[in-house]
Symmetry: C2
Subunit: 448 residues, 2 copies
């Protein structure tokens, strides 16, 4: 009977079968959950992602991203690409191996403790790029630019490296991580502030698309230099940053910017409640902090050579992936932001040998191809073809994985009209729907 499903599937070469996905399960032993050290290393999201074969550790702080993890990360990358390009961001790729001299010139080489350093066979020194202000300025300095060429916004989405003292919480604090880093160049402070504000809006868009509540707070510039910065946080108990929420005006602030328990926004006293946040994005106005030592200049209207005004903008994409799961999941079941779930829809056909099986194949095929014609659902449908398992067991696993929609071909497919069992997993809704209603439901969820 398992063969029947296989036949159906092979007729439609591109039906994606769960049984073929490399997803090694790896139950983290219960007793380890009580050890203090394990508690520090793990979080809800890292445990779920490791357990369910989304990531796998290679060495502390270094992970293999497995097929379901890569699917999610690539979706997140596409959203970031679209947002950055919609405001004129131009994608580039800076080298990972950065000539150490550039960081000596900026003065950061001894300032940043987390630098990975190495030498090549000719004894030239490099660092593995954790951020690329120096490289971006060096690039700009290599050619002449007119004031007409700005604003210029360059960004990349690449792996960055930090020699963390204590890598922890899976992708939330890892040695290698995927970051969207963007560098803007403008001809004066006002123009730079315009760009800063445009990018800030695009960051809000980006987080709104994910649908996760975020808190934007003024930040301390730290090793980046510059005079203005903002941080974007997701709320989570495991967060390393402390935020305070003012129960009077409801605004969040970085605890470092609070003096004498006074809310810096509404000036009320003693209304501040501490909470924890995971920093998922950071924006900085840098002025000429880097453009000056590197001579990243432009020629102004009167022919003068002037330092560019620079901002930089980061989104930690692998961290956002993990922090989203941390924020949305239960202890036992993953929940994804709908736009980045590895698959949008999981279809569960009946168990082999069941009464429903004989009529299920043609229904499955019709359903798959109708769904595959829906925008944003296309190529994003997975069939749990392990028909030796009961529907119930596969449904439990599907919910644990958090596919946003699970469609079960259960016993009501024998009715007239046929009814499908739809689980709207993020919404916590279960409903039996006829074919057209089912398609409408899914379509509206993705194309409102």
């Amino acid at each position: 009977m398992y063969k029947q499903l296989k036949t159906t599937v092979s007729k439609n070469g591109n039906i994606q079968k769960l049984s073929r996905i490399f997803q090694p399960f790896n139950v983290i032993p219960m007793e380890s959950q009580t050890k203090q050290k394990e508690k520090e290393i793990h979080s809800k999201s890292s445990k779920l992602m490791l357990e369910l074969g989304i990531i796998k550790q290679s060495s502390p702080g270094c992970f293999n991203l497995l097929p379901l993890g890569i699917r999610a990360l690539e979706k997140l990358t596409r959203i970031a690409d679209e947002e950055m390009q919609s405001i004129g961001g131009q994608k580039v790729e800076f080298p990972t191996l950065i000539n150490e001299k550039l960081w000596t010139l900026s003065g950061r080489v001894n300032e940043v403790k987390e630098l990975f350093k190495l030498k090549d066979r000719h004894a030239h020194s490099y660092i593995l790029g954790p951020t690329h202000e120096e490289i971006a300025c060096e690039l700009l300095s290599q050619s002449q630019h007119s004031y007409k060429d700005f604003p210029l916004i360059l960004y990349q989405i690449t792996n960055k490296f930090r020699d963390e003292l204590k890598p922890r919480l899976g992708l939330i604090r890892s040695k290698q991580f995927c970051m969207k880093d963007m560098y803007s160049f403008d001809i004066d402070y006002e123009k730079a502030m315009e760009t800063y504000s445009i990018v800030s809006d695009s960051y809000e868009n980006f987080f709104n698309i994910l649908g996760i509540e975020f808190h934007k707070v003024k930040g301390a510039a730290g090793v980046m230099g510059g005079s203005l910065s903002h941080e974007y946080h997701f709320s989570a108990e495991i967060g390393e940053d402390t935020l305070v929420r003012c129960s009077h005006c409801n605004h969040f602030t970085n605890v470092e910017l609070v003096e004498e328990n006074i809310c810096p926004i509404c000036k009320e006293k003693n209304q501040l409640i501490k909470s924890k946040g995971i920093e998922v994005g950071h924006t900085f106005f840098l002025g000429d902090r880097y453009s000056k030592p590197f001579n990243a200049n432009f020629i102004n209207k009167t022919g003068k050579n002037i330092n560019l005004q620079m901002c930089c903008f980061g989104l930690g994409l692998t961290r956002i992936l993990a922090a989203s799961i941390e924020t949305l999941s239960t202890d036992q079941e993953i929940r994804w932001p709908k736009p980045i779930a590895p698959y949008s829809v999981l279809i569960i056909p009946p168990k082999a040998g069941s009464k429903e099986e004989p009529i299920a194949n043609s229904l499955l095929e019709r359903l798959y191809h109708s769904l595959d014609n829906i925008q944003h659902v296309k190529k994003d449908i997975l069939v749990d073809d392990r028909t030796d398992l009961t529907i119930g067991r596969r449904n439990i696993q599907g919910k644990k994985m958090g596919y946003p929609f699970i469609i079960v071909l259960g016993n009501r497919i024998k009715e007239d009209p046929v009814l499908f069992e739809l689980h709207d997993v993020n919404g916590g809704i279960q409903v039996d729907l006829a074919f057209e209603d089912l398609l409408t439901y899914i379509n509206e969820a993705y194309n409102k």
Copy 2:
């Protein structure tokens, strides 16, 4: 008059304007072309790519990929993704930082001279991954697998690192390069050979899509180990590999496999002509060379634990990008494989103040949006909005950049019916076409 174009453009937020692209020109001084050292470092492709702002060197062997370069590389990546996924390849990402112990276990740590090595702050040793057989096997060894789980084909598209003695020829021999590397696992030799053959076919597909003549030759396995390998070469004078072509049977062979001037395919003697090739792909049957030391095993039908049979398959994507340009270009003008040119179509509107300008705007808009409705051309159209330059000058630059199709709104747009000047750059054809004929021409070029 320049403003008029701007207005048109802003009505259509997504019209892509050449003037906004970060493409710093950088003429390589003529005298340097004669220096022997420069000759060794540069090639036709590296000179053109540097000169035309497609890449820019950061340090020897390390490059910034600029916006036009990234567009081409992302197209190439998508083609590789589609081909690998069509044969069941599952995309993953292995860490760049590889625990050195894994390479000690495989015995390769002292064998490969080009390893970048580094230590973290706890004095743990890592290498920067040039290839990931060890990591893939270690990953497999961490979970149990049934014979039913195979074939398993995992691949990644990531940056790799080699501490080259003499980085040269731009992206052809660089310290950091983007590679598609794939690892297959099978339960026995026969199944592994089946997978090897399926992947080999997909490699031929991949190169056929690019449309570049390639030579597949038997290879020497080298440091990879294993008993069978094939290399894929593009012909180019600057190639580092020597191939021989038999003028009797026309087959190519690696010179290392030729004895006594006898063609190993047709056995004819003294018919061999030497030529140079750039290796752009390599496939290996590895057997249990890595699965054995790492215990990458499966449970067979009788419950026995057996070493997996492994193959690995590489495509050097940044090298293919450069080698394609090397193969197709003239000394003065880039030519791209059509599917990976940074933009498919360049539109050149009339010079500001010309007689044609008043009627050009509405034509441009109509043309842009009609082209933008053609599959595989959508979002791939660039307008050279620098209308302070003559059509002739922009046309020369467009050809130098090698956009496959250049459409000039020249003096025949005043005729009835309107005629557009189409330059089919790869085909070396220039023809004046009416609107519908023009669309048909472009559509057929991309959707045959």
